[in-house]
């Protein structure tokens, strides 16, 4: 006779697990993923996330272009990527299943919402046969759950309409995953209370749905085993989960505080950079001035005006917007004013793939202006690194009186990782001194070490002067068209960029300091390369990895480091732009490893490349 008491189900311990929630863009998959992520983070796992959503706000419900996904890799050891393939796939409809199932590991758990697999749903997803019946899913552990019906049943006493009840079904799925990975539900309870402060009934509804999903797994025979992923051993400290865009926003607030300047952001909305504007516009208590300009050009030129006035000025954009800012960036270079231009790269050309990631604006950043217009370029390697890059870019801009470009990308912008919160006292101080002394003042008199010109802001008595886009006479800054003066000024502007190398640390390769293969990379490919390097070195491959945060000027010792390896490969999410630079500058026969699919490298792809390269 079976007892009525629930028997605890057996629990297996795993080193890491990858879950992907996918559904219609109206199904709340991003929120579901974000909730699972913060619970995992609070639990102490290391993690990496990858939100993948369509460019359309609401493509027709149930269709293939409308599918939105969120993947989280959580682990008991350090992780650097969201994972190549997934252990658990939650698919809310046939379209989500169709577009995502290929990434599910053989034998992986597949949870589908059975209620959304009707004839019309299948038709919208262009399925000729029902995948739940045609044996194409035989290689997976398929759980067909009536998510909609069960959610409605759980909420029937609340008096909500059907539409409102159905909007809670994502939390039923979340509850199931919490059970599956032995997670507490309290953090999400707390979040719901805050989110629906003014509509407590919706908080209650989502809690009920989540608990129903949890109980469903506990009670039904379907799930025989649950898993546990123990906390990771991270460096001691206070942590929070952070995305690249949030980290950039915080970094600029920190840079303003550490330089003693007012932060001014002039930006025009563009995917995937807009979140930086959203975030900074909320930080008014830090005196942040955010200006949503009428276009990309006004965004850039307003930043020039604010920098001229003595603010820590910055703009954020993506490739197409960067193209529009080009002429004004030339003015910023000519007038030698400090500012930061953030390009959160996306797939191109033209409008391209607005929500997908790419690294193809490097050439645009380095060379995309008329005439000789060199500019320093920095790139963060991880979401958390975006914070430090914002500070470093600001510091360089102010020290050298120069515009600086930061190249982030869609993957860093929306991806997140646990981030060790720094102490304010650990951040560099770089107070700014404006020029106030009229004695010996010339607008283009240079500091001998940095070649910076003085920052003489309007309102300072006795320093009235004119600047502009016309060529200037050395030192005086007066308009000057003389041939030799022009050549001197062109060379001076380039020398100033080169001088920044004194602030660029030498590179120390990760992995082997010399050997068969060196991988040289930049930006968001850091995670996949780091994991692949680790696994391949464990197999005895002598491989090193240089990850460049400074793309212009390049570190002083890079040329020497390149020579220490038999082969150099440059993995990039473009057609080989850093590769081009390295081949031109160092005359080495480096090879490219390129992916241009709007998606980051998989670890396995980099591993295969390493094996191929050293064969």
């Amino acid at each position: 006779m079976a007892t009525l008491e629930a028997v605890p189900k057996p629990q297996e311990t795993l080193a890491h697990a990858v879950i992907r929630f996918c559904g219609d863009s109206g199904d709340g998959m991003q929120i579901t993923g974000a909730q699972f992520t913060s619970t995992a983070a609070l639990f102490g796992n290391d993690l990496a996330t990858f939100p993948d959503f369509p460019a359309e706000i609401r493509a027709p419900a149930g269709t293939l272009p409308g599918v939105s996904g969120f993947q989280v890799n959580f682990s008991s050891s350090d992780v650097f990527t969201p994972g190549d393939s997934v252990d658990v796939l939650v698919a809310m409809n046939p379209a989500a299943l169709k577009t995502n199932v290929a990434d599910l590991k053989p034998g992986g758990i597949l949870i589908v919402n059975l209620d959304d697999f009707g004839e019309t749903d299948l038709k919208k997803a262009q399925c000729k046969t029902n995948p739940l019946e045609d044996h194409t899913l035989d290689g997976y552990r398929l759980f067909q759950v009536e998510l909609t019906k069960l959610t409605r049943a759980a909420l029937r006493d609340l008096g909500l309409d059907a539409k409102s009840m159905d909007r809670c079904k994502n939390f039923f799925a979340l509850g199931m995953c919490y059970w599956l990975y032995s997670r507490p539900m309290e953090p999400t309870h707390k979040w719901l209370d805050m989110k629906f402060k003014t509509k407590p009934i919706l908080a209650e509804a989502n809690k009920l749905a989540m608990r129903a999903g949890y109980a469903y797994c506990d009670a039904t025979e379907a799930f025989q085993v649950r898993y546990e992923v123990p906390p990771a051993k991270l460096e001691p400290g206070t942590y929070r989960n952070i995305s690249g865009n949030s980290a950039l926003a915080l970094g600029f607030v920190a840079a303003a505080a550490k330089s003693g300047l007012t932060l001014f952001q002039g930006s025009y909305p563009i995917t995937p950079a807009s979140d930086i504007l959203h975030e900074l516009s909320g930080f008014k208590e830090f005196g942040v001035l955010t200006f949503q300009a009428e276009d990309e050009i006004a965004a850039m030129t307003s930043v020039i005006g604010a920098a001229y006035g003595g603010a820590l000025a910055m703009t954020t954009t993506s490739g197409p917007g960067m193209a529009l800012k080009t002429e004004a960036m030339g003015l910023a270079i000519a007038t030698e004013l400090p500012m930061v231009i953030v390009d959160v790269q996306r797939g191109g050309p033209s409008t391209g793939l607005p929500t997908k990631t790419e690294q193809a604006d490097l050439m645009q950043a380095l060379f995309g202006r008329n005439s000789e217009a060199p500019i320093p370029v920095l790139a963060p390697a991880t979401p958390g690194d975006c914070f430090w890059i914002a500070i470093e870019a600001s510091r360089i801009a102010l020290k050298y009186m120069i515009p600086v470009i930061v190249l982030s990308d869609g993957y860093l912008a929306n991806g997140s990782e646990p981030w060790k919160v720094p102490e304010v006292s650990d951040l560099p101080d770089f107070p700014v001194r404006f020029r106030t002394d009229p004695v010996g003042f010339f607008p283009y008199l240079r500091d001998p070490q940095t070649l910076a010109r003085p920052w003489a802001v309007p309102g300072t008595p006795g320093l009235e002067h004119r600047i502009g886009g016309l060529e200037k006479e050395e030192t005086t800054g007066n308009v000057n068209y003389e041939p030799l003066n022009h050549e001197r000024m062109v060379r001076l502007r380039a020398a100033k960029v080169d001088a920044i190398v004194q602030d660029v640390p030498d590179v120390i390769p990760a992995g082997d300091p010399d050997g068969d293969l060196l991988l040289v990379a930049w930006g968001s490919t850091y995670g996949a390369i780091t994991e692949a390097l680790r696994s391949q070195r464990d197999k005895g491959v002598r491989v090193g990895h240089v990850h460049l945060r400074h793309l212009n000027p390049l570190p002083r010792n890079l040329g020497d480091v390149l020579k220490r390896y038999r082969k150099v490969v440059v993995p990039e999410m473009n057609m080989g732009q850093l590769l081009w630079v390295l081949r031109a500058k160092y005359l080495i026969d480096a090879q490219g490893f390129n992916k241009i699919q709007g998606k980051p490298f998989k670890v396995s792809e980099v591993e295969a490349m390493i094996q191929e390269a050293v064969r």
């Binding site: 830090f286 001035l289 009428e294 307003s302 003595g310 003015l331």
Partner: protein
């Protein structure tokens, strides 16, 4: 004695050592002279003035003003000046621009600056031609204009500059003429005291590429008949003999001869530059596009409205007053955190 005494400034204080490179006879000289004459009287310390310009003949202006000056790029002066004014609201920022700079390549910035009511003074030198690029027609050139790029005449319809500014609901809209020095200085002073965007169209002659651009208005023998000087609270009267006026006829304006058909001064529109409805000033701005009407000069509209940079900085102050000054350490730890031991 007042608490602070300002140094007495003269026209000379605003002249630079730079050689002025406008063509001899250019209307820009007259505008420069008027501005240099007015600035010393505004009671503003010299270092607080900033002149920002775009590209074009007019945009050489900052080089000849001994103030802070920024010669930016084509069309972008309003946006540069907006950024500056937001960051430094206490500065007195003037924008020098032209018909091509402000209305063609920079049209977008011009309307958005006016829409926002950023506290800038905008001097739009309108000579109805591209001068610096040597004589192409501009967005204010009349239909049929024969210029370098339109040997058979332009087929573009021109902008009415003031209608455009009023369409953006600019809070101060005025017009003056390079050669009407006294009127120009008065208008500049009015603009200087306005809070918010103060937009002046200055009719200016280009004696090289569009000589006589405005002579049908400015020639001594016709000017009184072809222009109407607007004065707040005064009826709209013009003509050498002050014998003509403007009155409403339905929703249209109409020119009347005083004394004819019983028309008296009482029938005329009394100018109200403070009329909150921009439609009134818009009607006035249409006069010069209508045959038989005089071209209005002076202040068409001067109304009070929230000033952009003030509102923006007040919002910051209000949040600080409510929440207290932000603490970086707290911000970095905002949201959910956990401690690893």
């Amino acid at each position: 004695m007042t608490a602070t005494t300002l140094p007495v400034l003269t026209r000379k204080d605003f002249q630079t050592d730079q050689e002025v490179r406008w063509c001899p006879g250019c209307g820009d000289y007259a505008i420069l002279a008027a501005v240099q004459a007015v600035f010393p009287d505004l009671g503003i310390p010299k270092e607080k003035f900033v002149v920002v310009s775009g590209i074009g003949c007019s945009s050489r202006f900052p080089y000849y003003m001994n103030t802070y000056g920024f010669h930016t790029i084509h069309g972008r002066a309003p946006a540069v000046a907006t950024g500056l004014k937001i960051a430094r609201p206490e500065l007195d920022v003037w924008v020098a621009t032209g018909d091509g700079d402000a209305l063609s390549i920079g049209g977008n910035h011009t309307i958005h600056m006016l829409r926002r009511n950023v506290g800038l003074k905008i001097l739009l030198f309108n000579n109805k031609i591209y001068g610096l690029t040597k004589g192409q027609y501009s967005p204010t050139s009349e239909i049929g204009k024969k210029a370098k790029s339109t040997p058979f005449g332009s087929v573009d319809r021109p902008f009415n500059v003031l209608s455009l500014a009023l369409g953006a609901e600019a809070t101060f809209v005025a017009r003056s003429v390079d050669v009407f020095q006294a009127h120009l200085k008065t208008t500049l002073k009015r603009a200087a005291s306005h809070k918010g965007s103060a937009f002046i169209e200055i009719l200016q002659n280009c004696n090289i590429f569009n000589d006589g651009a405005w002579e049908t208005l400015t020639e001594r023998d016709v000017r009184d008949d072809r222009t109407l000087i607007l004065e707040h609270g005064k009826p709209l009267i013009f003509g050498k003999n002050k014998d003509r006026g403007i009155r409403m006829n339905g929703i249209e304006l109409e020119v009347v001869m005083l004394g004819e058909g019983g028309a008296t001064e009482k029938d005329l529109i009394v100018h109200d530059e403070r009329n909150p409805n921009p439609g009134y000033a818009f009607l006035l701005s249409r006069m010069d596009s209508t045959p038989g009407f005089p071209t209005p000069l002076g202040v068409l509209r001067a109304v009070d409205a929230p000033v952009y940079e003030t509102a923006m900085n007040e919002q910051v102050a209000a949040v600080i007053a409510r929440k207290g000054k932000g603490e970086l350490a707290k911000l970095l730890r905002a949201g959910e955190t956990w401690v690893v031991k």
